[in-house]
Amino acid sequence: MNAVLKVENIGISFGSNDVLKSLSFELGENEVLGVIGPNGAGKTVMLNILTGILKPTKGSIIFQGKNITDRTITERCRMGFGRTFQVPRPFEKMTVFENVIVGGVYGDQLREKDAKRRALEVTEIIGLGDKKDWFAGKLGLLDRKRLEIARALASNPKVLLFDEVAGGLTESEVSDILGIVRMVKEQGVSVVWIEHVLKTMREGTDRVLCLAEGRNVICGLPDEVMESKEVHEVYLGAEEE
């Protein structure tokens, strides 16, 4: 497997509390890697370390062969990291179109003219074509999530980090999101996808990594992982003596 992203033994502690103890995984070219785990497993912390919001206390992050552990948020974005937020954070007083332009202009250093053209394409393929001149603040939850993905896509990312993009959506909306993820993958982007709706993970990912108490428990094909004794123990609790 050709790894785009390699995470090696990262750990982070807040005071005496080790939130991530030691986490390693690889993300392959054009792969969708699902990350599951109960509350407090360290999923969001992991995402924040990957995007550079938090600095790990140990370990390193290798992106396309380069060590990026000390790079800032903006540098990582320009190198090809895109992300969505658990609670979407669109630029509410800007239109959908303008939101997506920001991705092109600042995430990919395009000239504004080219960024506009790309924004048109991206809003179209993500399914926001008829709402592109709406103020982002007026969008519903699904469209906000779409917009976040579109904005990230416009920055021409190599790796997209999804933070619970399917959370809070209805069944049919989730299948829309699954379609979008498939489409993103077809564009040649690798995805790290945190989610707690396990069923969605089973359908939408190539591999699943399960975290618990700050370390990886198991990593493998979705069906294998979901059926594994380890995951059941993590979620359902071990047999008490």
């Binding site: 509390n17 109960p38 509350n39 407090g40 519903g140 939850l141 619970e164 959370g167 809070g168 069944e171 707690h196 709706v197 396990l198 069923k199 108490e213 979901m226 059941h232 979620y235 359902l236 609790g237 071990a238 047999e239 008490e240």
Partner: protein
């Protein structure tokens, strides 16, 4: 369950966060003296349910009745005065205050102040480690000790109903066992308990009655000893016949 000894009745409760509907038509009953567990993976709406009972979240519609008094939408401090107390997720002890000051905060309300000495003695008896550390700041406590402090602080308010939100989260098995032991003792003294847990086995083992939540709905309920574990598991993961939710 007979209606006569129903302590808390939640009827058709709906809660929204902006566009997002967090709870769908939740109905449940909790009878006096029992231990009831609410099971579900994260995001299922368990904490939202507890927070709504406590008045931290406001219901969009539906009722919550405590001893047949409507408490839905009441401010939190009044809910506490009615006799419901909660040990919140992640303990949320007052880190800049000492252990004893944390406990005295539990005795803040007038009716609790009068019985503060007696209750302090009781919780120190229940959790001797807190007595040892009474002069220390809560920030120096371990995760398990914080959880104990949060529960003890809740008891200081003199509740009839104690809601415990994920009290085993991130703790070592030995500590969890200890804490559940204490919960049992507290229940024996007449306090009704609601446990919110991600851990199915533990929940079923320590409760009389269980509700299973999935995506903001209650998908299963029954006596804990009678619920088939693999069906709970299906409901928990939202697979097989529970996939429709």
């Amino acid at each position: 369950m007979t209606t006569e000894n129903t302590m808390l009745a939640v009827d058709n409760l709906n809660v929204h966060y902006g566009d997002f509907k967090a709870l769908h038509n939740i109905s449940l009953k909790i009878s006096s003296g029992s231990v009831v567990s609410i099971i579900g993976s994260n995001g299922a709406g368990k904490s939202t349910l507890l927070n709504t009972i406590m008045g931290i979240n406001k219901p969009s519609d539906g009722t919550i009745a405590f001893f047949s008094k409507k408490i839905g939408g009441m401010p939190t401090n009044q809910v506490v005065a009615e006799g419901i107390s909660m040990s919140p997720e992640g303990s949320r002890v007052f880190e800049k205050m000492t252990v004893e000051e944390n406990l005295l905060m539990g005795a803040y309300l007038k009716q609790a102040r009068q019985r503060k000495d007696e209750r302090l003695e009781k919780v120190y008896g229940l959790f001797p480690v807190l007595k040892e550390k009474r002069e220390q700041h809560a920030s120096f406590l371990s995760g398990g000790q914080r959880q104990m402090l949060a529960i003890a602080r809740g008891i200081m308010t003199g509740p009839k109903l104690l809601l415990c939100d994920e009290i085993s989260l991130g703790l070592a098995p030995v500590v969890i066992k200890d804490i559940y032991q204490k919960i049992k003792e507290i229940n024996r003294e007449g306090v009704t308990i609601v446990l919110v847990e991600q851990d199915v086995k533990r929940s079923l083992k320590h409760s009389d009655y269980s509700y299973v939540m999935l995506k903001g709905k209650i998908v299963m309920e029954g006596k804990s000893s009678e619920l088939p574990e693999d069906e709970v598991r299906d409901a928990y993961f939202g697979v097989n016949k529970y996939a429709k939710y």
